[in-house]
């Protein structure tokens, strides 16, 4: 640990300058934007922008869809990756192949496989073939509310691997001896899972949940790939609204919408951090 202050300067200044320039300073500067009207005189209008944006039906739609999609995606991703990592943990050391193939999509450009997705979910495509074989009728996946299904699936396909790897790292850090001792003491598999595995991986599980949620807010990507630049209403996200407003050079609305969303994000993660603190204390 270096304690002399002048040592840190060459390491800190370049990155610090960029963060200040592109993120921190304009973040506060932007607050001014969100309370002025953007005209030539740039008059102070208080919370008028916020009232306008919150009353805008497209903003409401985008916000609702973004939140809904993330509420579907994040927990689903979390549970699936936890289950998969438990399974993978049981096949070690032969699990390398599976682990690699699960992680692979995270590194793949999902933009390049979107065509495959469009084929699979076509009205006459393989997924409907499968449904038909199972006796169900065909679904128009690429329209309306059903669009959410391929979009969520693509999100899971892409992000599953990363979460599995973090879970696996936590699982493998648990010493085998703990389980042997528990078995000797006569603890059942379920007891071991809840009394040993779960408490020991709480920090990682929480991290995965946060990362899953951060990524779920980025779901615009998948929407753009499958739904195009002007998607149907059920998948119209906040990013679509922002891009639209930005295209119209309405910076007041962009800023106001962004800061409204920032407040929601901070409140959400604040609650999650609080729950984690409680959970940790409860287990100890």
């Amino acid at each position: 640990m270096y304690t002399r202050k002048r040592y840190v300067i060459p390491f800190l200044i370049p990155g610090m300058a960029g963060l200040l320039l592109f993120y921190i300073v304009p973040f506060f500067g932007g607050i001014w934007y969100s309370v002025t009207d953007g005209s030539f005189e740039n008059a102070f209008v208080g919370i008028d922008n916020y009232r306008n944006v919150w009353n805008n039906p497209m903003f409401q739609l985008g916000l609702k869809n973004t939140l809904e999609l993330s509420v579907i995606c994040a927990p689903l991703l979390w549970i699936l990756s936890f289950l998969l990592s438990l399974l993978l943990n049981r096949v070690r050391p032969a699990g390398t192949f599976f682990r690699s193939s699960v992680l692979l999509p995270y590194l793949m450009p999902s933009s390049a496989v979107l065509i495959i997705w469009l084929l699979w979910f076509d009205f006459g495509g393989p997924v409907n073939h499968l449904l038909n074989a199972l006796g169900a009728s065909r679904v128009q996946w690429l329209q309306g509310g059903e669009l959410r299904f391929p979009i969520v699936l693509m999100f899971l396909w892409k992000n599953l691997g990363f979460c599995v790897i973090i879970f696996m790292a936590a699982l493998q850090a648990i010493p085998e001896a703990l389980y042997e001792y528990a078995t000797l003491e006569g603890a059942s598999y379920a007891q071991q899972a809840f009394r040993i595995t779960l408490p020991l991986i709480v920090p990682s599980a929480f991290l995965v949940f946060i990362l899953a949620w951060i990524n779920a807010f980025k779901i615009f990507k998948e929407v753009y790939f499958i739904g195009g630049a002007y998607p149907d209403e059920p998948v119209y996200t906040l990013q679509n609204y922002m891009n639209n407003m930005y295209g119209k050079l309405n910076y007041q609305n962009v800023t106001t919408a962004a800061y409204s969303f920032a407040v929601i994000v901070f409140v959400l993660f604040g609650i999650l951090f609080w729950i984690q603190k409680r959970a940790q204390r409860g287990l100890n």
Binding site: V8, F22, L107, L119, F225, F261
Partner: protein, 286 residues
């Protein structure tokens, strides 16, 4: 002790094999289709979008006849895809170069130095990491406009140099390094600069490899930034934002384009796979 290989053993493996194949299928299919002739693919893609309940798309697994026609088209006669591909390479290289300088130095400062405001700064970085692009684009845009950089490549490149997530990732790894490393180096007469270059960077190899590979994956799949910042400059778009255009136009060579785009990512993955696994395992991600 010999482990028993019961039914569960095979069920578990069977299930995982099916999972793995399903996960890999989009890539495999892309590569298979990329060797069809252009005419064959055009005809096949035309069967899409038919809403009649009587008609199915043709079942099509592999090319009827092996052909390099699609590749010939995109690599030699028609340079639309290639030009967009070069844009993607340019963005990735520029972003990674900047990050390679800025991210590890910043992480080093945040992990192995004591200075006033350090913890506050780290907290701000975590807050920034939590914010999605919808929010951070606003401060970025304000600065980019003030500097007159919108509708240029720098609008995409510069803000990503200071990616909070990678600073966090590398910092968490460096925190776990023993301080004795620094002490030993300073006893041998090395200052912080030398220690950083000759000791810290080599020791951080796994996490730097992992961060580079993950960051490359992000750059290679850029969507939000170019779509937002480069609305008036379609010629500067990376290939990743243009695939649904290609698919819509039914050019017949979209699969060779996709395969071409997957290949570099595949090489990066194979090259850095061990780093990603060990780097993330060794990082104190809590």
């Amino acid at each position: 002790m010999q482990k028993k290989r019961g039914l569960g053993f095979f069920l578990l493996r069977g299930f995982l094999v099916i999972m793995a194949v399903l996960i890999l299928l989009p890539m495999i299919q892309t590569f298979l289709y990329s060797f069809s002739s252009i005419g064959e693919m055009k005809a096949y893609m035309k069967t899409r979008g038919n809403l009649s309940t009587e008609v199915w798309m043709d079942a099509h697994l592999s090319p009827n006849m092996f052909s390099l026609g699609q590749y010939y088209r995109i690599l030699i006669t028609d340079n639309t895809v290639l030009r967009l591909f070069v844009n993607s390479v340019f963005y990735s290289v520029m972003i990674l170069l900047g990050q390679a300088v800025l991210v590890p130095t910043m992480s080093f400062a945040l992990s192995k130095f004591r200075f006033p405001g350090r913890d506050g700064l780290f907290f701000i970085i975590i807050l920034l990491m939590l914010l999605p692009f919808q929010v951070t684009m606003v401060p970025n845009v304000l600065t980019l406009r003030a500097l007159g950089l919108t509708d240029t490549v720098w609008a995409v490149i510069l803000p990503l140099w200071f990616s909070p997530f990678y600073i966090f990732l590398v910092r968490q790894f460096m925190v776990g390094l023993p301080n004795e490393l620094l002490e030993a180096a300073s006893i041998d007469g090395a200052g912080p600069g030398r220690t950083y270059l000759n000791i810290i960077l080599p020791v951080c190899r796994p996490i730097l490899g992992a961060a580079a590979a993950l960051s490359f994956a992000d750059c290679w799949n850029l969507v939000e930034q170019p779509l937002t910042y480069l609305t008036n400059r379609m010629d500067l778009q990376p290939l990743s934002t243009m695939f649904n255009q290609l698919a819509k136009e039914n050019t017949g060579f979209e699969f060779a384009g996709a395969a071409l785009y997957i290949l570099p990512a595949l090489f990066i993955y194979l090259f850095f796979q061990e780093d990603i696994l060990s780097g993330l395992q060794l990082t104190e991600l809590k």
